[in-house]
Structure formats: C-alpha cells, structure tokens
Symmetry: C2
Subunit: 379 residues, 2 copies
C-alpha cells in the first residue's frame, strides 16, 4: 500500500506541477475532479469518465448519507465497488450541501441538525459523524467538516464562522481514523478578509492535515475577488501539501487559480452544462440548442479527441437536444469532461516547460470575449 | 457492393436459420432490430448497441420526417453518417405512427394528411412520398407504405383496409428506386382473418418484394390469436425471402414467432423497459425499483455478459433508479438489448442444431410463471 503523500515536481511562478499519491493510485496535478454526487458522474459510465483522463472523482457526503445511506454502502463494500470506480475518490464533508439544499437547519457548536430535502427526515451532522460517514464510504481523501461562510458577510460574522470551522477541523482531525494510503484535508475559511484567511490557514497548519483546501469561494464574490483572496491566502499554505480550491470552476477560473498555486479543483459545470446543451470548446462556449447549428456538418471542436467531436456533426448534437434524447446529454457531458481534462493536461505541460504565462495568453486569446466573471456553480 | 438477398441456411420445423445480405453487411436471422426512433437508440451510443450484437437498427420515418427532416438528413449524408451507424438500417413507412401519434388525420386513396404531434404542422404521406423519404434517409431496407388495420375490426373493414394497403404496396414498389444492396419489403395485412391474410400475401408476392413483413399484429389481439394468424399466414410467404414480424415483441412472443417461421423482429420493449426499471433476465422479468433489491449484492443476471451484470449489484442499479440517475437507464437498456440479442443467438444456435423444441421447453421452464399474453408495445 502506498502512503498518502504529495510530490512537488516543479514550479512556474506560483504555479505547481505535482503528484498526489494514494492507496488507489496517483493524481497528476493540477487536477480536475469530476463530480459524482450520488455515486455516479451524471450520464457517464465509470469507464467513460476514466477515458476522459480523470484520475479522481468527488462524491457528496450529504447526498449519499441520505440515499442510499453510508452504512448501506459500507455493507456493500464501500463506494468503489458500489459504483465500479477503482481509482481515488474524494468526499466532501456534507457541510456545504446542508446549507444549500436542506430545510430547517439548526447550527450550534456541536454541529448541524437538518431535514432531508428528499423526504423531510431529520439528520444530524457533526465533525465526528461526517468523518465517520466518509470512513464508511471508504473515501481516499476525506474533508474536515466546516461551515461554508455565506457571501456577502460582515468581517465579524466571517470571523466567528471561520473560528467555529477551525474548532470543527480539530474535532475532524481527532475523529479521522488514520489508514495507510488515505488522507484528510482541512479547509481554509474567512471569506474575502485577508487577516481571517491567514488566521485560518495558520490554525489548520497547526493542527496538521494531509492537504489544504480553500473553501468559501465561488459563492458570488466574483473573479477578481476570488483571485485576490487566493493570492493573499496561498503564501500561508504549506508548500509540501496539495491545495484544493473547492467548487471551482469555469475554465478561466481554473487557469487563474493554477497560476496562483492551486493544485486540485472540482465543479459540476462540465457535467451540468453537458445536460443543458452548453459546450466548452477551444474557441469558447457554444449552446447546441441554437438554431445556427441545425445543419452544421462540422464537429463541436475539431481539435477534441472525444467521441462527440470525432463521430458527430453539430447538426446531430443539435438534433439530439431538440428531440430531448439522452444521447445528447451523454455525448456533451463526455465532451465537456474531456475538455476539462485536456485543459488540465495542457496546464501541467505548460508548467513543466516553464511556459504557463504564454499558455494563459494564448488561452485568453482563443476564448475570445469569454466572460471572466466567476459564478456560483456549486451543486 | 453486395446485392440484397436472403440465404436460407437451415430449418428446424418451420423455424428458419438464415442470413440477409445488404450493401452494408449481413444480418444473421432470426434477428432482433433495436429501435432507434429519432436516429438514436435511446440512451445508447452506436458502439454500445453494436457491442450487444445488433446487426441492424430500425428507425422511424414519421419521427425523422418531422424532426430533423428527411431532406436535412440527406444533405448531411444520410442516416448512417448522421447517427454514426455504418451497419444496415431498416426504416418503417411512417404509416403506423401517423395513425398512433398524429392529430387530425384524413385518409383517402391517395394517402394520409396529418398534423405533426410536435408542432401541429400539416404533412402529407403517400406511398410515393414515404418511399422518397426512406430513400433520402438512405435506408438499406425500406418498407412499403400501408395502413395498419386497427384491432378489433370487422372482416369487411379489414378487407377494405388491406386492399388499400395492397394498392399502396404496388405504388410503393413503383416509386422505389432500385439500387444494388438495398431492398424493399411488402407488408401483409388482413387482421386476424385467414382469408384476408392469404389474399394479402398472394397480392404482395405477385408484385414481388425483397422481403415480406407481417403487419397489424401485436395490436391487442393477444398471444394465441397472434400465433394462430402467423401459423395460417406463413405458408403463403415465399421461402426464399426474409419474413419480418413488425413490432413484436416480448421474449415469449419472439420465441413463438421464430417457431412459426419468422426471421426478423423489432420492438421498443427492451429499450422502453430499460427506462422504466424493468429488466428481462434468464429467470424472468424484474423491476429494479422494488425495495427488495435495495441491499442485494448479486447482479441482475449472473449469466449475462453486459456491463450492468458484470460490474454492478442490483443494489446499485436500484439506487440509480431511486435517485433518477441517467446511468440507470443506460445500464438497464444495455442489459435488455444484450438479453434480446443473446436470446436471438440462442434461437439461431438451437435451430442450427435442430433442437428448437428443447430450447423452447427450457426457456418456458426458466421464465417460470412469465405471462404469455401479448401486449401492444409499439412506439
């Protein structure tokens, strides 16, 4: 069994080329993790997801604890055999979705009591229970239980929320059962306040984690504020551990965050957009419902290696969305996931060659007038 | 280019082991044709469908003429490149769906005027236009335009409907542009009246077609009546041409029809059932929404070679349907299509060995109390 670890292979400015090692395989960074909320990356088989180049998935503790239940998944051998994915899986702590999806929340020092958005049933999440669930799911990377601070928020409220998360981080660390090949990440909070981010990063480092996430971004603060917060937070993150920017984001967000020293990313955008006819391409974004594609024999992105681009015209993809055929969702999700993985591979290559700035300039030129506004796209 | 043709390789009782040759490849018979209504077998990539063993698809003229339009598909190179399927395609004539799906139909000697079920637009189908559309789609096997007689129907009404279809069959034959490797099938009508079926089969044979379909069954007449009609009709069908039983059916229906000398079948049942959690297995049918599967680690069908059975538990498939995840539809459709193709392969093997009766006895025993009632499952 390989020990959990991180190897920094090289740097280009603040950007890092690295490798995360887990008991179930390695992850080349910067890395994008497709989201498999309910133990499936929506519309894809695991073989399809692996073919895009993904080396790790993110699954959601909140969704899985409610359905089918963590104990049930444990009795069936854990998440990996359950969903037929033998590479690493990262689970979030459930904290974010409790805030965004559930009803009748009551938060106190101990944790959160909430009602399921599915059936109204009552549940409690504490740092100890979140870590236990992630253990039952057999996640290779577990996340400390935290409160994702709302945006906008006053500095005083951001401070008390962050400090609660730091106390929960310490309880999460104590509850985590260390096993060879598995890791636990802490989550930096503090909204857009530099002093709070510094205090949070230092508190987590003092506790000691296998990796450090930046949470509470991509919640409406916008691209410029996100970048500023990353630039200010990054120096306080240990260089010898992976850094994970949670819930980010659009391609332009990821590129900017990689340049600011972030290593790991997750976002529902490629999968969700694949279901709403939005395609990410080397020339910018397209909406396949647009009538101008109705008789277009060209592929979505002639440079793309995915089946949607190799085998089909834009006209066919347009037809599938107009006819509400599931194959449209399948092919476009596959394309978007492939686009994201190829973007990460290009970023890794550019960092290794010391050519990240040139890559970013070319990326921004090709994307044309693509918006640089961040968006809340968390699931 | 291979000429269109049929080779009778062997017989077991009335059952036939054969091979249909087309310009785009051969079809071993008895054969099941998955239905790709709108130029996609719902939820499946063409590679997935081919992996199940399918050698020919059925696509629907009615749906494709309305969306995206036959002329558009022709400008994009025809159905095969449009949907990325390079094996044979059979198209129906559109007559059945005009009757079952469209609004405000007006039928006369010339053809049918109807309103689209999609947008209310007005369209006309005649034998000549149906054949032209099927030519534009580039179907390897086209079907004569007919009126599918309702059930139940008086003998007088069945007779006049059938005789109209026979006049339309002659016009279809004249409109069909003969090309090497392509074929045109006539359709026997006459409801459940033996004299009418005989008259219809003789009329079509006099016109001369590359294959003969039996239409107007699986419309509510029930298993026994369907079998009786097949037994009575079969002797009047030319032995040197393929026989296609349209819209059939459940596994038990197909087995019974193969024993009565039918060679080709199509039905939405494996794909539609795959989307409603119903699985066909060697032990009978299952509904995966049933709570008894919630924690079942066993596969759907341990003898099945499909990904759903090789890689997943019934518990996972149950979870996917409860969570309304598209992967459930994908995996179960794949399974059902694999089941149908493996059933056809077993039937071909049994006929070749002269062991069809023993196969049928074993099939019925294993299916346990499976119903033998036919069902209207046409799309």
């Amino acid at each position: 069994m390989t020990a959990f670890g991180f190897t920094l292979l090289g740097k280009d400015g603040r950007a890092r080329r690295g490798r995360v090692s887990t008991g179930r395989g390695t992850i080349e960074t910067p890395a994008f993790m497709p989201v498999g909320t309910a133990a499936t990356v929506k519309t894809q088989t695991p073989e399809d997801v692996a073919a895009t180049g993904a080396e790790i998935l993110l699954c959601n503790t909140y969704h899985l604890m409610l359905r089918p239940g963590a104990e049930r998944i444990a009795r069936l051998g854990g998440l990996h055999p359950f969903m037929h994915w033998d590479k690493p899986i990262l689970t979030d702590s459930g904290g974010y979705q409790v805030m965004s999806l559930s009803k009748l929340r009551k938060l106190d020092e101990n944790g959160v009591v909430f009602q399921s958005h599915l059936d109204g049933s009552r549940h409690t999440l504490t740092p100890e229970r979140s870590i236990e669930i992630q253990h039952l799911l057999d996640a290779d990377i577990a996340m400390a239980f935290d409160e994702c601070t709302q945006y906008p928020v006053s500095e005083a409220d951001a401070a008390s929320s962050m400090r609660l998360s730091m106390r929960w981080a310490e309880r999460s660390r104590k509850a985590f059962v260390a096993r060879e090949g598995y890791g636990l990440f802490g989550i930096v909070q503090g909204s857009v306040y530099p002093d709070l981010r510094e205090e949070s990063a230092k508190a987590l480092t003092a506790i000691g984690f296998d990796g450090y996430a930046v949470g509470g971004l991509a919640v409406g603060e916008g691209f410029d504020m996100m970048v500023a917060t990353l630039e200010q937070t990054e120096p306080f993150l240990p260089a010898d551990r992976p850094r994970y920017l949670m819930g980010v984001g659009k391609p332009i967000d990821i590129v900017a965050a990689v340049a600011r020293g972030m290593d790991m990313f997750d976002c529902v955008l490629p999968t969700r957009s694949g279901r709403t006819a939005q395609a990410f391409t080397r020339g910018g974004t397209l909406n396949l419902r647009n009538a101008r594609h109705a008789e277009e024999p060209a592929p979505l992105d002639p440079e793309c290696r995915c089946p949607a681009c190799r085998h089909y015209s834009r006209a066919y993809l347009h037809h599938l969305f107009k006819a509400e055929e599931v194959l449209g969702l399948i092919l476009l999700t596959r394309h978007n996931l492939t686009y994201y993985q190829d973007l990460m591979a290009s970023l890794r290559g550019a960092i290794a060659r010391g050519a990240l700035n040139a890559f970013i300039a070319e990326f921004e030129r090709k994307q044309g007038g693509a918006t640089v506004e961040s968006q809340d796209v968390n699931q």
